[in-house]
Symmetry: C2
Subunit: 189 residues, 2 copies
């Protein structure tokens, strides 16, 4: 059960996923020609590996979600509390800013494909479970709805990647800021 794929295919696929993620996250209207050029791969090869544009987008999205899963898989074991899990999550996911940006844009666009939708919802559900755990733990204020907290997590992801355009900052420091904001807001105590 070694890798069944030709080395050339693996290389092309990796290059296309990377280029597609990069270009499409910056500009949804990027063409397949653009992506092939950025990947330094012939346009024919792109169409050979992905029948349609949708298929490429889906492959990239799945790739991003896998990266997320890998980056967060350790949290379950390491987290000492529900709140701590959020801190670890910010630290784990902020470095994946390109993946984050891509998924944010695609998740708005691609509401047709049931397969993708299922993965998105699964991802959202994991955050929701985290929120509910922290709430049950007594860490979260009770007059704040679970739904809002779930959205706030996404909102802090968004905050972090727009802030990286303005202030060049360490991913880790950004995660600390987001976590502090999440817990206590930004006012003087």
């Amino acid at each position: 059960m070694a890798d069944q794929l030709d080395a050339r295919i693996q290389k092309s696929q990796a290059a296309l996923l990377r280029a597609g993620m990069y270009l499409l996250s910056r500009n949804q209207e990027a063409s397949l020609s653009d992506i092939a050029r950025e990947a330094a791969v012939g346009r024919s090869t792109l169409y050979r590996l992905y029948d349609t544009k949708e298929e490429l987008v889906k492959a990239i999205a799945i790739h991003c979600l896998q990266a997320f899963d890998e980056a967060t898989s350790h949290i379950e074991d390491e987290a000492e509390s529900g709140l701590h899990a959020f801190h670890l999550m910010f630290k784990a996911l902020f470095p994946l800013s390109v993946e984050m940006e891509f998924l944010m844009k695609v998740s708005e666009l691609d509401e047709e494909d049931p397969e993708l939708l299922a993965i998105f919802q699964q991802q959202a559900n994991e955050i929701r479970k985290l929120v509910e755990y922290a709430r049950a733990e007594g860490s979260l204020s009770h007059d704040i709805p679970v739904d809002w907290v779930v959205c706030l997590v996404d909102g802090l992801f968004y905050t972090s990647w727009i802030s990286r355009r303005e202030m060049p900052m360490d991913h880790d420091a950004l995660a600390d800021l987001a976590f502090q904001t999440f817990c206590h807001g930004v006012t003087h105590r």
Copy 2:
């Protein structure tokens, strides 16, 4: 100096701005045919009033920014403190969710046009001034950078409009939630 514009032009323009704002905020790839159809206006008329697609987008963006200015103009007088101004701002701007969504998407896309860029930066600057005022007032924590707070405001706008997709909620209640989060985060005190 009465309105120099024919009533028909005014009506067409208003319909096109509205339809364009609506469709483009949901899907950046909406075509001019789509927009004309949504506006119940002939495609020829669209091209007569806006030479290019860029011009239409710019007109919509300016329209949105004007709406923002109008909605927030009262804050300067009414705000009793720097923090209170943020609360008023959330209350004033959250109802403009379509305008907000449009501007967020366009501001990422349209980084060429200097005129638009200038308006965006002016808008961002007003938020920055608000943040700096609140900081000088002693309301904001000193170990949190001004840049982060500025981005957080945008992030809470984002949070609010994704939350409206999941939980149907009053704009006003949403603004309260955002303000509370801004001030104290979401943890139990």
